[in-house]
Symmetry: D3
Subunit: 144 residues, 6 copies
């Protein structure tokens, strides 16, 4: 059970209702998911998260499905039940089937294991890896 | 500093050395990264992790770059320094530039935020999301 | 469902019952919350946690509401369902309303995001920040 | 070492430079912290995080010091080195001394312990706690 | 509710069914636990995890009960509900009673607290601890 | 670098110095580890953590080495650098060699992987596992 009363559409202020309308339109649904109805209890949070997420999830160098699969991996690693379900649902709508989910899970599971091993043996980062991780910085100019 | 002495190639047993050779060949490098030299202190772990990772990371429905970007997202979420560097390096070698890394970071950051919000308001998963997350199970037959 | 049978008041040993009495008195309730009934299965743990928490939560330089809001933030970050509910309840009793909860959630969410970004880009701590974090040590004498 | 080259002020695009200027002005410093120089490599992320954080951290029902102490607690729980230092530094500037930091640490530590205990015994949330956590919803109207 | 349809024994492919048979035989049960039926949707993951776990959990220098108690501690720290239950059940079958569980919980709780304190005060590792953690490397030869 | 000045023995108040003496005596060392010198800045925290840890770590149904190996597993899972080193050092002093550490790491790594898989597929806990995890409650009476 939630820690705040869901703010239903019919009880929402005009400001909150406008954001709910935008969420439903952009997501092509005719209902407001619970996470947004919870944030409806604090309009500044609702507005900031909705604006920020739209910016983050719009098509860029990564396609929307890749972004949703990364969202699944993050939610799995954090063990967030609501998020695992909502991002798995979103990724399935974008074409992820059981085999692709299987690979996301295999990769996510594998690196939760090796993260533990690297933290546990606490090995130093090899200098060639440090250099390769940093890259050559050329693209940072292109980014400007 | 590590919690185990790195097992160098020249000090390694034939079994460990064979795995080191395979790692270097598959990764096209002529040196053994520290994480593997640490696992060289316990051959069964070295063998199991190496075999498992090769299975997990081979091209499948997801391409290698997507798998490495998911690995970055998992490592970031766990805060594993060695892993963040090694997977960022691997993803860069496969073509990830600063803009793509920026999108991986934006997505990873965004969902670490919303994971907290969903956990904090502890909202119930909406039934349509539960149904969409489960999918129709058809692909699970195809997977067999 | 729990992994241990709750030790009910009427089944408790005199030692456990005495702690239950103290918990109910200090919290001004006439029932024993489940977390304490679970620890009732291992008296040394029950006693140590209860004593330690009283010490930690007594009014000090931080007021009880601030302490409970920090408890909410920690529980949200760890994704602990029982804890999110119990600390949100405790903070509400001390005066936290939906707007204040909204701010706690906004701050907790925001820094779960930036924590990921700092871990992901793995930036060095700026020397002026290191110095400012350390402080001048004067208060450590005052603390004695 | 970072996984992206810091974008220095003199190398930054006009868009990035404008945000750097705003950061320095709002924070009353004459240098750009590394976390922002890292995000300088991906201007959309830089802009979104900076805008969002200003919104989140402005004085509201919680004062700035309380918000920074919550930021410390979140960063400690996630084990983010950069963040622990930067939020401890920010909180000290707002008046937190060693005793107050000691209380933040005591509370943060205590609830990381009890979070584990509640997760480990996996106790059900007591109905009175569920009801008290939810509150009466009155303030959610006021929030609109 | 799961994010994939459980692959029941009667619907499983011969490859998956063979692994299910092996799981039931090795665990001396006549039913397939849900975690394996979920992985049944992606045979390569099922096979890899089952093979790897058998290798990891076979009697070695640590006895099976110690390994299961470590599994409980890890699952508690990650807050994984399924895992807390399945490893607590496995440890109980191997002889863990409420007192031993109480000690596992006490230790797991205690170090989740001190982990937070060490991360929060961010103390340097003392040189004698670094040296003692590394050991003398003698056993790494014996391990080969 | 730490976020508080270490309180050295010669600068400590009589109360803190007494605890330092007790730590050194009980641990058979002639120096004070940094984690305790950091807590020396807030005497109530120092006293509470030291008292609680002695209670938790004293020989019980689990032997000291098992408790330290659980401490390693918890610290690895949380990625706490100081803690990984100090508990690995403590476990080595109690007899853990590289092979035993290898098994601790293998088990810790394995269950960080399967924790992710169970969270990701979000499977329901099987009723026989729920029952077996709960146990028969007989020992909870013995514990009183």
């Amino acid at each position: 059970m939630a820690t705040v009363r869901m703010v239903e559409y019919e009880d929402a202020s005009p400001e909150v209702r406008e954001i709910y309308d935008d969420i439903m339109e952009k997501k092509s649904i005719d209902w407001v998911p619970n996470i947004w109805k919870a944030m409806g209890s604090h309009a500044p949070l609702l507005r900031d998260v909705w604006n920020s997420l739209q910016d983050t999830m719009k098509p860029g160098r990564l396609d929307p499905l890749t972004k949703e699969m990364i969202a699944v991996a993050v939610s799995v690693t954090n063990g967030c039940e609501y998020c695992v379900h909502s991002h798995t649902a979103a990724a399935r709508k974008l074409g992820m089937d059981d085999e692709m989910l299987g690979e996301v899970m295999a990769v996510t599971g594998a690196f939760n294991r090796t993260n533990a091993l690297a933290n546990g043996y606490h090995v130093d980062v090899d200098p060639p890896i440090l250099a390769a991780a940093l890259g050559d910085g050329k693209s940072s100019k292109a980014a400007e």
